[in-house]
Amino acid sequence: MKLKKSFYNSHVIRHDLTYFGWIGGIYIILLLLIGPIASLSGEERFANYMLRLLDFDAPLHLFTIVTIPIVLGLFQFKYLHNQLQISRVHNYPFSRYEWLGTKLVTGMFILLIPQMFFTLFVIVFYPSAGFIGNQLIHTPLEFLVLNCVYMLSLYFFSVLISIISGFTIAAALMTLIFFSVPYGILTLLFSNLELTLKGFYYNYSFMDKVILKLSPLTVLYEFSCKRISNMTYVSIGMFVFVFLFAIFFLYAKRKDESAGDVLAFEVLKPIFTVGVTICSVFVVGTYISVIYETEISLFAGYLIGGTLGYYISHIIVNKKINVFKKYAKGYGVMILCIVLFQGVIYFDIVGFESKVPDVGSIESVIFEPLYAPKDEHDRKVYSSIEDIETIREIHKKRIAEEVESKVGKKFYIQYNLKNGIKIKRQYIIEELRYKPIFNTLYSSEAYKKQTYDIFNLDPNAVSMVLIESNQFWNNREKIETTKDIDQLLSALKQDVMAASAEDLVFNRYDQAHIIFYDNRHNANVNVVALDEQELDNSVDLSGFDEVDSQAIIVDIPLNSKFSKTKSWLDEKGVLSNIALKPEAVSYIVLEEVGLRSSATTVIGEESKTVNVVEPEWIKDILEKMSYGEYFDDKEPYYVVGVGLKDKIDGMVYAYIQKKNLPQEVLDEFTH
């Protein structure tokens, strides 16, 4: 007898549409409601909203593309979770594959037809095709394809979970849980390792760039971005393919008698219990450790989380409460695993926490704040033995800390070893604790050259320099001749190289920003627009990047200690316009605030204040005042309020340490 194999049956599709077509109906109503709902907030916003109908910004749209496929999958395959239904369905004269294929085709119709209709509706009734093409992030076709493929991936995912689970509520919950895999699980794991393993590098960038795309839900995050990466397309396509394959494979393996069980496959039960236990360990551990902030609380949290997760998962799988005795042995093993895990970390058995490579084995070291730009050419790489030693010294001291730094800056250390291995660490480091060592690092040539991009600038390639004042005036000066640019660069380089770590970091104050406009890659400098802006004094000046978004910008702060640069700018007659000169200051008010912990930036009536009007003292204070970021807790300091001659209202605020104030001024406080 000839076998006629088919993967769908048109009669069943028609029959199925009578049962589940309403979901498609609701979907299309919701899609069409996006516009009218937007119109409630006004005509202008409605126009904007219409523009976004073919985009992923509308909340109702986001809601529908996630919930509709999930709900459809759960409803369509609900029969798998009922003994009576599944017997009836599988007694119909179809092979299981034919039945499954038919259901999936019906599901695709229900999902995709409203989407196509909606896209067509928007295109037809939209003001004009040009309007759509120019202003939408995604073209209608791209939007349609993206939407359809995304919804299919979620639909298949929902069907897959329905097949894996034995009852519908469990399927709905598992769909939500599995959505967070692997992003949620890895976030939990990495957060916990960050808490327990000193020096563990939590690679947020990797999580966002790669892991976020490995879950059908989290990949949605990227849809509202301007460009959808190839990785995202591959990721969604892969979801569709993998889910579809898994659906057909598991449907054939699924036993009808599993209807009513939490999990339809025996092999998944241990995976489920282990997964729930691990998640519970990490969630409860994190929760308790955040409340009590001790290592023992984290351990206690792990034990409590493990106990809850282990038994709750067994209660769910077995669908009965009395599981304690039966699984006591496994519980013991689980507790032992937690103890071992904590033990390995606490006693640093693998030597992770104490590892600092030998100088001889290191080729270079990256040392920078954790959230610094991650482009390879922007990284601060130190290759000299002196600099490597300095960083190793900081690292070793940080490891040896008895009371761990909690409030410092997060630093990233990457040792590039000669054998090709990269050792990555992340620490909170209080720079003030190791100020002498950081002084050495911040004074180093490598640090300066990598922090200030002027050393790579070719004066001939710079078409223009803008100097923008900070908070004193809304002023901007322009330098355009190559000779001037060359001289300015030269002065700046000398100042940077001569500056101490104190000047550049610990006691820094920027008076202006010197922005070099590197025009090698873009000849169309929008200087006219800039000039027009300057003529219109009523508006704030646009940022440089707004003037021309294609520009390559090198932004160098004009540090108040950069004396050569300031002198050069003064000679050119532009300093007074963009920086704080003593001549522009009418007076300075100093307020004694004592230690850093009691700091306030408001000069109050109760605190003791001193008015400084002596030009020499004003000059001195202006040069030594700073942002106060690195003031030592134990050293008294003062709030500096600078009153400007040209401005009656408003002051410029900064901080100054007691040691930097002229003795005569300090004497004023004692009188």
Partner: protein, 306 residues
């Protein structure tokens, strides 16, 4: 001639586990084409599990389930020729008899619309009425109406007349018998109503604890077990009954009551050894056969004093 050509439904060494529990322990069952087979057994014996294998819902852990020589699991060719009415029926919320009949017309190649129309008068059910709003008996009639209209070669019925009134029961049995007679339909019925089974079945299989205790022609079965009332001149010696087995014995005064399994002639020969004053050999009902057979397997009726 091979056994499969004789037996339309053939279950060979069927084994099924639910977790660690062995529900079916190597069952061998044979149903001849055009016959009615009664599957009986106590609650929890595994009848429904066995039926779900026969209707292609469950997949066996061991053995084979063949219909017309083909494995039944996931076999659409067999399922097209089969109708199954389970004990608990399930219908979707919007199902009506009419809606389902339209669907069946498309999916069952032998669905007989004329028969469907004719049966309207038999069942007196509004075909446009939502089935979920019907009583249990009405639902059963609806299921039967649809099943019989699909012109099945194999009819599998799990408690088919449970919930039906006596008149409808008669109608249903009559339809089954008519179908068997006219079309040679093969019927397998699982029921606790042994009195009614006795009237329609050709063969009976008794299932207990996942094993088929026995499978026989009903007439043969009934002639194999004897209910005897007698009185002796001399006290009988049961050890001398070589070709039979006493399933039950009760002595009231001089009257001996026996249920004996075995050849009638041999039993009479043994009774005559002890000069019986009289011998009454009475026929056994299927219910009595079932009770005494199952009783021998430790499922006897227990006197319960509350």
């Amino acid at each position: 001639m091979s056994s499969s050509s004789l037996n339309f439904i053939e279950v060979q060494d069927l084994i099924k586990y639910f977790g660690d529990f062995k529900v079916l322990k190597g069952i061998n069952l044979h149903v001849k084409q055009g016959s009615i087979y009664g599957l009986i057994g106590p609650n929890g014996a595994g009848k429904t599990t066995l039926i779900k294998h026969i209707v292609g819902s469950y997949y066996q852990d061991g053995g084979e389930v063949l219909i017309d020589g083909e494995p039944v699991y996931d076999n659409s060719r067999i399922l097209k020729r089969m109708a199954y009415i389970p004990d608990d029926l399930y219908f979707n919320t919007t199902d009506t008899v009419k809606k389902i009949s339209k669907f069946y017309k498309k999916i069952y190649p032998f669905f007989n619309e004329k028969r469907f129309e004719t049966l309207k008068t038999v069942f007196e059910i509004d075909e446009n009425h939502l089935i979920r709003k019907m009583s249990k008996g009405m639902k059963k009639q609806a299921a039967f109406w649809l099943a019989i209209s699909s012109m099945p070669d194999i009819l599998i019925l799990d408690e088919p007349v449970d919930g039906l009134d006596p008149v409808t029961r008669r109608r249903v049995w009559s339809l089954i018998l008519q179908d068997v007679e006219e079309r040679g339909t093969t019927v397998l019925i699982s029921s606790h109503n042994l009195r009614e089974l006795e009237d329609v079945c050709d063969y009976v299989g008794i299932l207990h604890n996942g094993s088929l205790l026995m499978e026989k022609d009903l007439d043969e079965l009934k002639t194999d077990i004897h209910k005897i009332q007698t009185s002796f001149e001399f006290e009988p010696d049961s050890t001398k009954l070589n070709a039979g087995k006493i399933l039950y014995e009760n002595i009231l005064g001089s009257v001996h009551n026996y249920i004996i399994k075995g050849d009638k002639d041999h039993i009479l020969k043994w009774l005559n050894l002890y000069s019986p004053r009289f011998i009454d050999m009475l026929p056994l009902s299927l219910e009595e056969v079932f009770i005494y057979e199952i009783g021998g397997e430790g499922y006897e009726i227990k006197e319960i004093i509350l």
